[in-house]
């Protein structure tokens, strides 16, 4: 509809530039999208299966003498229970497990005041599912907590594909798990059942991040615990309030 005279050259040049702009935009956006979904091509340093196992002493010292039952750690009749929702690949879950949790286990689980349960979520990727199934299988032998804690000590880069059969075998060996039995179990549909339940429970409690915690009198009702995961004192305050 333009009625005004426009010099042909700038307008033509402009059309060429707009075409170039569209081309550049499409190419750059396509490259960004391709690299951001690059899942299996990761060059991340996965811990080699033959790397030495870390954290064995610490794990054994932390758990020694505390009863385990499936995914639960601590006395059955402990007055309060805390359920952790965690993804094996999540670095914050490792930070909590290695720094905050040992204090809580020593002060509350070991003394019979608290029971802890571990529920695996698997949103980060396929390795999370493999690890969660391996944890459930260790739980069949009442060694899930040993396996899980060793896993966090030896956690690799997220989504780097480090959760191999050899990696799990190494953790099983450290945790004292009967590997032949656990490896057979973790590939059965039964091993996926607690994972599906964990996911359903997490939704029920509005868990949207890991690690997340719900706490309450053993048997429930449980409510979501909103604490800074590195702050052991905040956990303790919540426990003490429930123990009163």
């Amino acid at each position: 509809m333009s009625t005004a005279y426009t010099p042909p050259n700038p307008s033509k040049r402009r059309n060429v530039m707009i075409a170039a702009l569209v081309a550049v935009v499409v190419v750059v956006a396509a490259v960004l999208i391709l690299v951001s979904s690059g899942d299996s091509t990761s060059e991340n340093a996965a811990p080699a299966a033959n790397a030495p196992l870390r954290g064995l002493q610490e794990t054994n010292a932390m758990l020694k003498g505390i009863p385990q039952d499936g995914n639960a750690l601590g006395e059955k009749n402990a007055p309060i229970t805390m359920i952790e929702y965690a993804d094996y690949q999540c670095p914050f879950c490792r930070d909590y497990a290695l720094n905050t949790m040992p204090v809580l286990i020593n002060d509350y689980v070991r003394t019979g005041k608290l029971r802890m349960e571990f529920e695996p979520l698997t949103f980060i990727g396929p390795d999370s599912e493999t690890a969660a199934r391996a944890g459930v299988a260790a739980g069949q032998q009442n060694l899930e907590w040993n396996f899980t804690h060793l896993f966090f000590f030896n956690q690799g880069e997220e989504r780097s594909g480090y959760v191999t059969d050899a990696f799990i075998d190494k953790l099983y060996a450290g945790a004292g798990v009967d590997a032949a039995k656990a490896n057979a179990y973790r590939k059965t549909p039964a091993a996926a059942v607690p994972i599906a339940e964990a996911s359903a429970n997490a939704q029920k409690y509005g868990v949207a991040s890991t690690p997340s915690f719900v706490v309450g009198p053993t048997g429930g009702p449980y409510t979501k615990l909103e604490v800074e995961i590195s702050n052991a004192d905040a956990f303790k305050a919540a426990f003490d309030a429930l123990l009163k």
């Binding site: 402009r14 702009l21 750059v28 956006a29 951001s36 949103f123 989504r159 509005g206 949207a208």
Partner: protein
């Protein structure tokens, strides 16, 4: 007159984008949960699509918004129109892709990410509008001020 209004709108949007991306970058590095009413923020922020070769998407977004603001402030004339439109369109396409992943793959919504996607959509509209509205006119050397 219109262009001036669009220019100001783009500036404001870029600053809003910087604020959102800066907050999400902070949350990423501080390892805390973003203030989130949709319940999906950390699921999204720790998902497979939350980083590009180890660089968090939030930080990428921050760089993107800073570049958009810089292109609006530092460049003049056609260079400003083209570069800002290109940056905003790239951001728009990429954030559309991420929003698609949120809805259909991760199945969790992060309100901050959606807010950023909306800001980028508006920025793309505004900067493209400026570019097309100036179309056909010879470039003005008087713009140097």
């Amino acid at each position: 007159m219109l262009d001036r209004r669009l220019y100001r709108t783009a500036l404001v949007l870029a600053v809003v984008g910087i604020a959102i991306a800066a907050y999400l970058t902070y949350v990423h590095y501080a390892g805390i949960e973003p203030a989130c009413s949709t319940g999906g923020c950390e699921v999204v922020q720790t998902s497979e699509w939350a980083d590009v070769y180890g660089l968090p998407v939030a930080l990428l977004g921050l760089f993107g918004y800073l570049s958009i603001l810089a292109s609006l402030l530092a460049l003049r004339g056609d260079a400003q129109l083209f570069v800002s439109a290109a940056l905003c369109l790239i951001g728009f396409l990429y954030s559309a892709y991420l929003t698609y992943q949120e809805l259909f793959t991760i199945k969790a919504i992060c309100q901050w990410c959606v807010a950023s996607a909306v800001v980028l959509t508006l920025l793309a509209i505004v900067t493209l509008w400026r570019l097309l509205a100036s179309g056909g006119k010879p470039t003005e050397p008087a713009d140097v001020g």
